[in-house]
Every structure is written in C-alpha cells, then in structure tokens.
C-alpha cells in the first residue's frame, strides 16, 4: 500500500489529545517496545526504594521479635512413650517444634521451621538428619546444624529437661 498507515483513534481525535493511558498502552509494536530513559530511571529508583524499605522492615521486625519474652516451661511428652528412633510434633511458644529421640536414646528438640524459607522439616533419624522437603535442605539431627542444601543457619534448639518420667521444654536457643 503506497499511503502510510494512518494512526486512527476510536474517538477520531488526534494522538496528542488522547488520554495518558492510551500512550502508556500503545497498539503499535515499536511504541510498545520503547522504554524512555525517564521511565527506566523511575523504575530503578522506585524498585531500589522498595528494596530498602523491605530491608528496614525486616530489620525492625527482627529487633522487635527478639524482645518477646521466652516461653516458660511446658510438659510435652512422657519419656516411656517415645522409643529411640521416634519423633513427635509439639507446639512450644506458639511455634511448631519437633521432639526426637535419637537411636542412642538421647533427646533433642528443634523448631520445625526450616531456616531457609520456613517449610516444615521432617525427621529422617535413620540417616541421623532432619530433611526439608521444599528445597532438599538437610540438618544434622544431633546438633541442628545445616549439612546440605540452601539453609545456612541451624534450627532453633528447644532446651529439654526430664522431670519424673516426663519431657519438659524449658527454653529456646536461637543461634545465628
């Protein structure tokens, strides 16, 4: 076609008189692909501001969270109901936790929230480890330390005591 493509708008007004959104969502491919320097700078500034605000929010939240009082002692299980190699779930201080009796008879308990992205971890005591199914992260069952996968902080340990045939959770140790 010899005549160039005419830009026609539904209301037949010239392109300059069109509302702002019409320029933001152009029909023509070249205009749609155009990124103006000002728009790009605006995007960069706003995105970095959002990141800074998010980091500050995370920092403030963790500062406030540390001031929360440590939960008191709680009775969680009878010792003779938990054979070596077995595990059970319990809630301590509003968080899910995992009580495990290692094959050697030793009792350990950790928060069941993976330190990577907070998935619930599952015990794998035959191999002496705790597994996170989400991203294949592994923790050592005896110490709670990460041994493989994305997590790089240990699971918060729940301090246990045995009083008269019952297992008590008496405190929470968060190590970084």
């Amino acid at each position: 076609m010899s005549e160039p493509t005419r830009v026609e708008t539904p209301d037949l007004r010239p392109p300059e008189a069109q509302p702002r959104w019409r320029r933001d969502f152009p029909i023509d491919w070249p205009e749609d692909h155009l990124v103006a320097r000002r728009d790009f700078t605006k995007f960069l500034v706003l995105t970095s501001f959002a990141f800074v605000a998010g980091q500050l929010w995370i920092g403030v939240k963790s500062l406030l969270g540390r001031r929360a009082p440590a939960p008191g002692a709680e009775r969680i299980a009878r010792l003779d109901r938990l054979a070596p190699g077995e595990a059970m779930q319990f809630a301590y201080g509003g968080e899910d936790a995992l009580l495990m009796r290692l094959p050697g008879g030793e009792l350990v308990a950790y928060s069941s929230k993976c330190t990577h992205l907070a998935c619930a971890v599952v015990p794998d005591l035959e191999r002496g480890r705790i597994a996170c199914p989400c991203h294949h992260g592994y923790f050592d069952a005896a110490s709670g330390r990460p041994i493989a996968g994305p997590p790089n902080r240990p699971l918060p340990r729940i301090v246990l005591e045995t009083r008269g045939g019952w297992v008590w959770a008496v405190g929470r140790e968060v190590s970084t």
Binding site: M1, T5, R6, E8, T9, D28, W29
Partner: protein
C-alpha cells in the same frame, strides 16, 4: 517489513469456494496446523456464493482497542499480529469486537490467533499462503499497478462502515468502480442475493 507497494485485495465475488486457501493457511509457519482464514457460506439455500475473510489489518484495530491485557500489537508495517502469548488471557473480547469476525480463540493454547498476513512470508517479500494458491484470485497479493491493470472493472477500497464506526484498513476489498465511498456493512446485513439471471455462453453454442 511488508513492502509499502504491496496490496492485499479480497474480491468475494470471484470466490469459488474451493477451500484451497483454508488448507494453504494451515501450512503457514507462523501458525502451522491451524487454519485461520474464514471461508463463509453466504446463504446456502439460495446461492452457491462463498466469501473468504482474512484479517483486514485496520488502521485503528478494534481487537487491540478492546484487549484488556494489552496483548494485540501491530508492527510498524501495519500488520496486526496474533495476541502475544505471555499477555493473552483468552477472554475472547477481540473475537466479539472485531467487525470482520477475524480472530479465533484457540482454547487449547488459551490464546487468540488471527490471520497475520503470513508475516513470515510477506515480511520477506513473498505472497501470503492463501493468495499464492487461490485459483480464481479472489485473494490477490501484488502491486497496485498490477491490480489496476488486471482488474479494470473494479477498484480496491479500504473504507468500511459499521453503523457509526468508519474503519479504514490495510487490506483492500474489491468493489465496483462506481460504488459508494464506504462498504456499508450494517446496511447490507438484511440483504440477500439479488437473484439476477445471467445467460452465459455455452461452449459449442452460438449466442
């Protein structure tokens, strides 16, 4: 880029309904296996007339105007392309809005697909599949000079009227030379074939 001097013209009166274009369309590499051309039967009880419908590539594409996902784009040479796959939400707004009824909703891909004038071919100077196979050249693709030389008794028009909406298109429709300025589609909706009798010369018979 589709060459500036190329003209794509549709002349429904030349259509013989052979469906060659329908099958050739599915061979196009931009939408292989899916025929996007429409071959319409005008009024089967009263006429054998058929009419091919390709995308007319409007200057103000109604399909793109109504797209809520900003998925339908036109390249710089005026060809309105199939919806962008990452954006199309398969809402069928364009299918309902297109005055020519061109877009097809492919629910198996959740994607609107439409005639893109065989962009892989026309952008490198070849003819669209349908025009290259049409035996009666109801679908014509070539230069305007050639079209005017071959078809002196009709002229291409790019203007259509649907009620109050006037549409100018990239693809042309062949109309009689003394016809109206627009093809008034809405006014012709109720009209049927005229039933005009033509006596055709029969081979071996003196007329």
């Amino acid at each position: 880029m589709v060459p500036d001097n190329a003209v794509f013209a549709v002349d429904p009166s030349r259509c013989i309904g052979c469906e060659a274009c329908v099958h050739a369309c599915a061979e196009c590499d931009t939408h292989r296996g899916h025929s996007l051309i429409h071959l319409e039967v005008v009024d089967r009880s009263r006429s054998t007339q058929t009419a091919p419908m390709v995308c007319m590539h409007c200057d103000s594409p109604t399909c793109a105007e109504v797209c809520p996902a900003d998925a339908i784009k036109r390249t710089a040479d005026g060809v309105v392309q199939t919806a962008r796959k990452p954006r199309c939400i398969a809402c069928s707004n364009c299918v309902l809005a297109c005055p020519f009824g061109v877009p097809k909703m492919k629910t198996e891909f959740d994607l609107m697909m439409k005639c893109d004038m065989c962009y892989d071919r026309t952008s490198v100077g070849k003819k669209p599949m349908c025009a290259s196979v049409c035996p009666s050249q109801a679908l014509y693709y070539g230069t305007l000079e050639e079209l005017e030389r071959l078809r002196p008794r009709s002229r291409p028009t790019h203007r259509f009227r649907f009620g109050e909406q006037v549409i100018t298109t990239k693809v042309a429709m062949m109309v009689p030379p003394d016809g109206p300025e627009h093809v008034d589609v809405a006014a012709a909706l109720g009209a049927g074939p005229t039933g005009r009798r033509e006596s055709l010369p029969i081979v071996g018979q003196d007329v």
